[in-house]
Symmetry: C2
Subunit: 251 residues, 2 copies
């Protein structure tokens, strides 16, 4: 029997909307049917407890049920759709474990949780198994990041580094030879560059700052015939990720 929602658990849920609260508890918050459904299916052992609105009790028999008015003050988003989960973060693979993908998709200080999460979701859809990122990026287990990623962070391996220099150092030891920094204006076209996805790293920068300085990194660009602004970071990443899929599938 799931029982009632204690004051302590209610306070815990609220704390998980803050980075500090997630750090302190080591837990995170998933909201909505699709996000929660993914965690329930892929890693139910990580779930500490679930809370749902009374009318969904039949659908989520292990969840604590609360009246509607109570639920609506728990979730901050309109999209919570009557179900939320409090879960432990999955353990990343040991630091020295070998790379899982043919290339490393790297996010350098992509601070917007929506962008970070959307890129995770897109990378997982493309069949990538890892995402590499530097400090200054959004919290991969923030509530907004989880919503945008449709909980992809629970089943992908995340590798965090202080900066690009540390990340490059690690990748060099793993046989990665080419470092590509995506640039809105400069470099060879992503549709033509050779070796883009072979023992390489493809680095996406933040919208505000682009990719950090990194010695030896080769610029690569998305051709923009419309010559309008730069693309949103998540759109740029999506083009690079699915150019990889296209190359993989095209004989």
């Amino acid at each position: 029997m799931p029982g009632e929602l204690s004051k302590a658990r209610e306070a815990l849920i609220k704390s998980l909307y803050t980075r500090h609260g997630r750090k302190k508890s080591g837990l995170c918050l998933c909201e909505g049917r699709r996000c929660c459904g993914e965690v329930l299916a892929a890693c139910p052992d990580l779930i500490e407890f679930a809370v749902c609105r009374e009318e969904l009790a039949g659908e989520y028999p292990d969840a604590i049920t609360v009246p509607d008015f109570k639920f609506s003050v728990l979730g901050v988003t309109e999209t919570s759709q009557g179900i939320l989960l409090v879960a432990r973060k999955p353990e990343p693979l040991p630091e020295d474990s070998p790379m899982l993908d043919p290339f490393a998709l790297v996010l350098d200080r992509v601070g917007d949780p929506g962008n970070f999460g959307t890129i995770l979701r897109t990378a997982k859809a493309a069949g990538l198994r890892e995402l590499w990122y530097t400090d200054g990026s959004a919290d991969p287990f923030g509530d907004k990041t989880i919503r945008a990623a449709m909980s992809a962070q629970f089943t992908m391996n995340l590798r965090r580094f202080a900066d690009l220099a540390a990340l490059k150092n690690f990748l060099l030891k793993n046989g990665v030879e080419r470092f590509f920094r995506t640039d809105p204006h400069e470099g060879e076209s992503c549709f033509a560059a050779r070796g883009l996805y072979e023992r390489s790293a493809v680095i996406i920068g933040s919208e505000a700052h682009g990719v950090s300085e990194l010695g030896g990194a080769v610029p690569v660009t998305i051709p923009m015939p419309g010559n309008f602004e730069s693309l949103n970071a998540a759109q740029a990443a999506t083009i690079f990720i699915f150019e990889y899929v296209r190359r993989t599938l095209t004989p």
Copy 2:
């Protein structure tokens, strides 16, 4: 001399955050340096008036300046960055004017303003000149849509239809022969389908409902080796838009 911000103009700005307010006045609201900069550069004649924080008065000499505390209650977003514009919507081309692009990029009830705007921005970057959409989509001139689009709606031609049947009817008369509906699961790969961008329409559906029923529409899909969820609508549109760019540039 720009003068002071009248009560009437202050009320007008607030009303422009609502669909009703935009409809009543025929005006819309741009916020932030990049969004406003685009309108200032591309269509200054559409601007009714501009408002900025006192410290930006040197940068925007024609703007009405207001103290910081006042500005922060005008803009609803943290991203307004001290400058906002009230502008008329550009006149769309006459209804019977011919298509401007080799294919029609169609949004069918894409209701999320962030997605709608991001797709506009991406389409403009790719060199497209038009976007076609059906009722039930986000307001192209909503404040969120404008922010996500970086004001691309001011320089692209927008064509609105009640539904896909009406849109198809119109396109048939304009020599469009092929109608592709994007589908997360079914159809030929977008990387292989022939004639995808030649006298055709590529229809993107909403995340919640997909593409509406349309007789004779051929499904086309983005291959997803990761077999995870569907992609976000803006990511799917981005892949289709830049596959067009790739084909155009690849001999």
